[in-house]
Symmetry: C2
Subunit: 219 residues, 2 copies
DNA sequence: TTAATTATTTAGCTTTGTCTAAATTTTAAT
DNA sequence: ATTAAAATTTAGACAAAGCTAAATAATTAA
């Protein structure tokens, strides 16, 4: 199947938004891809034609098995390039998302498999997200929750949404990265803020907005 | 200047075809890019608008200084990716051209400069072509001639056209690569063939067709 | 259950890069 | 210096991917 860059981006976004077997809505997809609902409808027809999605008008979108396979390939490419950029070219984690968005569209199984070997076949990317293997199999992520919903006191950072460069830069500035251990000191409902403390450092306060993009598991 | 992939490919092709200050013809460019002369005319108008080429109708195309700069950037990216693929991912030289054609369009100065550092700032690519530095400066290639026009008997292979995968695979099979030393045993005018001999090997006969894609210098 | 709101789709237009066929200009040959 | 051939450009069309505005369907609220 020969897909355009736009088609691959749609498939990837649908994969990302799909939870369980709930259909992805036109609006949600438009928002995710920073485009208009009308454009999504157009593309939905094309992707249905190519049997990558199931789509009936007004009923939302779900990936077919074929579509899911495609999505996993794109995700694999994206995450391997992120590893390359961080591990080999010394980029920091907040810089790599945009570059990987471009590199991921170079479609060559051979290239990507060799890249994986070169990197030592990593199973998670620099943001803590699992990397699908050549067959689309992925280590199922360890149970993790957004920091704003964590109930345990002592936690480890396991992943961070890689969508916002600003967020990643902010976390960098605060010294928060994958594997960082922290404790929840207090959760203030009245202003939606959370006070946390990292080893050897004074505590700091972050907004729920930020906290919900930081995934953690109990230590 | 924000260029599309198509625009970059045109600029690169014009750079490749331009010899001295001779204008590149519409037809030659169409042939090089595997497209139609009418399409070239259309694109020429756009590139002129962007001040990357000088173009007057029926008069052919030349790069402006700005266009040349752009071309050198694309060539730099292409050749560095070729180095990466060969040196780090163990591709052979005939496989890398097509992949580099895609990778070269990821536009990030930071990425490409870090890639260059990572590779040890190479000055020639796997086909022997010089790599422009970050400022567009390029080691001027040592004097070299196509094998079919060489007059010296003992020669070293300095470069090979990377355009044809078939050619590169053929050379691979014969054991001819960069740095290979060979002698011209005879040049048969009547059937346009050349007999060459490599150290420790029996002589072999190749066509002028092939020979003119092999660049050599006297040993 | 009807009305209002929200979500989605349709229709028609735009841009980029391509094409074919026809017209025009340049070059080469007699 | 004409004329024939080759090269180039113009005109008009198309596909991909997007947009806006208007129409329609689905959902929510009164």
């Amino acid at each position: 199947m020969n897909l355009t860059v736009a088609e691959e981006n749609y498939i990837k976004a649908i994969y990302k938004l799909q939870e369980g077997d709930q259909a992805v809505t036109t609006n949600a997809l438009a928002y995710e891809l920073d485009t208009k609902p009308a454009s999504v409808t157009d593309m939905a027809k094309k992707l249905k034609e190519k049997k990558l999605i199931d789509y009936e008008k007004y009923q939302g979108i779900t990936l077919t098995p074929e579509g899911r396979k495609t999505a996993l390939q794109v995700v694999r490419r994206h995450r391997l390039w992120e590893c390359f950029l961080v591990d080999k070219l010394s980029f920091s984690w907040e810089e790599v998302h945009e570059l990987a968005e471009e590199l991921e569209h170079v479609r060559s199984e051979k290239l990507i498999n060799r890249l994986s070997d070169f990197l030592g076949n990593p199973v998670i990317d620099p943001h803590g997200d699992p990397i699908p293997d050549a067959h689309g199999r992925m280590a199922k992520p360890r149970p993790q929750t957004p920091l704003d919903q964590a109930n345990a006191k002592r936690l480890v950072v396991t992943a961070v949404s890689d969508q916002s460069t600003a967020l990643l830069a902010f976390l960098n500035a605060k010294g928060i990265k994958l594997g960082t251990q922290l404790e929840i000191v207090a959760h203030y409902e009245f202003d939606n803020s959370i006070e946390i403390k990292m080893k050897h450092l004074s505590s700091l306060t972050i907004s729920e907005q930020v906290a919900k993009n930081i995934m953690v598991r109990p230590l």
